[in-house]
């Protein structure tokens, strides 16, 4: 049986939704990333307490109408990629709340 994976937003990054795009800046190296729609959903839902499997089922499958097994494989790969860049934390245990970044208010397109 597969172990559950938990994901959390890294507190070492700053993120903001500008219009429809999620911009993420790493505190180290000042690298700027733009997340794609799937990565944005994953990042927003990464509260450290909800298993990845549940995020995929509730947030990704419903949004993109994809097969759950395939969506889970893609989500694991995506989470690992985001973790590699220091954007997400991954653990086989729930991740403590103080280790998670708090999302800031989005900036709307209408200026």
């Amino acid at each position: 049986m597969n172990k559950k994976l938990y994901v959390a937003r890294s507190p070492r990054i700053a993120a903001r939704k500008l219009g429809e795009e999620m911009l993420v800046m790493s505190g180290q190296g000042s690298t700027l990333f733009t997340l794609n729609p799937t990565a944005t959903i994953l990042w927003q839902a990464a509260d450290g307490a909800t298993p990845l499997e549940e995020i995929v089922e509730r947030r990704i499958c419903s949004e993109f109408e994809v097969n759950p097994e395939e969506a889970m494989r893609d989500a694991e790969a995506l989470a690992e990629d985001l973790a590699k860049h220091g954007i997400l934390l991954i653990s086989e245990q729930p991740i403590a709340e103080q280790s998670i970044a708090t999302p800031t208010s989005p900036v709307q397109e209408s200026r």
Partner: protein
């Protein structure tokens, strides 16, 4: 018996950029005179200063002003280092020290770093952009080298006050009312003309591009954020400061209109501004 200690004469001047007075102390009157000329218009006669820097003039290992700058934060102290200088600054005491040779470029770099750090705490930033005041409002013209900052500055009509042709100083003044103010700076580019020491509320940011016709187009907020960040001056490899700069850029593009300004290099472009 004659005194054992020799009193060393100390000379000072206050350089106030963005309304932030920084006192510079030196024992070399010629260096002081050089600074007075370099920062003409920004030298304050007042005694009060927020920060105090002692400058130790001595030959340095390298005169390389093009090498990378290293800015780190340790135990409440900022350390800045480049080939041509070493400096430290303790914000809590408001004091700092700069080791450099007698040239105006090293201290200019230190002042830029200090102001980026001060501004980051106030929701502001230094930006690679020209800026000018027209009809009581400030307009910023951002772009990389060659995008047209000097050209647009040179083409400015006589009713325009140039704040800078190279580095703009932007501070958030009223969070509730979306207020940003641009200040003049002595940081010059190719025009080599020091900006006017004045300020005005920011009305718009233009991202510059040269092209076959004059055209203004709105920029999507995410693109505006990315471009603003790519043109912001930031030196510190410090997580908190990086986060502050990022949030400042996001706040700014959410509150100030950002346009792409494609222009033919002649004076007609200013008909679109203001």
């Amino acid at each position: 018996m004659p005194g054992l200690a020799t009193q060393i004469e100390r000379y000072s001047l206050v350089i106030a950029i963005g309304g932030v007075p920084v006192r510079v102390n030196t024992t070399d009157p010629d260096f002081l005179e050089m600074l007075e000329k370099r920062y003409a218009g920004f030298v304050s006669a007042g005694e009060g200063a927020e920060f105090d820097f002692d400058v130790d003039l001595s030959p340095v290992a390298s005169a390389d002003q093009d090498s990378d700058m290293n800015v780190t934060h340790r135990s409440g102290r900022w350390l800045m280092e480049r080939g041509d200088f070493r400096a430290e600054w303790t914000p809590a005491t408001g004091t700092g020290r700069i080791h450099q040779s007698a040239n105006p470029y090293s201290i200019d770099a230190v002042l830029r770093v200090v102001h980026t750090l001060v501004l980051a705490r106030q929701g502001g930033f230094l930006l690679h952009s020209a800026s000018a005041i027209r009809n009581g409002k400030a307009f910023l013209f951002a772009g990389v080298s060659g995008a047209g900052k000097t050209t647009i500055s040179r083409l400015a009509p006589s009713d325009t006050t140039l704040l800078t042709d190279e580095i703009s100083y932007v501070r958030q003044v009223d969070e509730q009312n979306d207020g940003y103010v641009a200040f003049g700076t002595p940081f010059t580019g190719e025009l080599a003309k020091v900006g006017e020491n004045t300020s005005a509320p920011v009305a718009a940011l233009y991202l510059l591009a040269q092209g076959p016709e004059n055209r203004i187009e709105p920029v999507a907020v995410a693109d505006a954020g990315r471009e603003l960040l790519s043109n912001m001056l930031f030196f510190a490899e410090d997580q908190e400061m990086v986060h502050r700069a990022f949030q400042a850029a996001c706040d700014f593009v959410g509150r100030v209109p950002v346009y792409r300004l494609t222009f033919v290099p002649d004076a007609r472009v200013w008909g679109l501004i203001g």
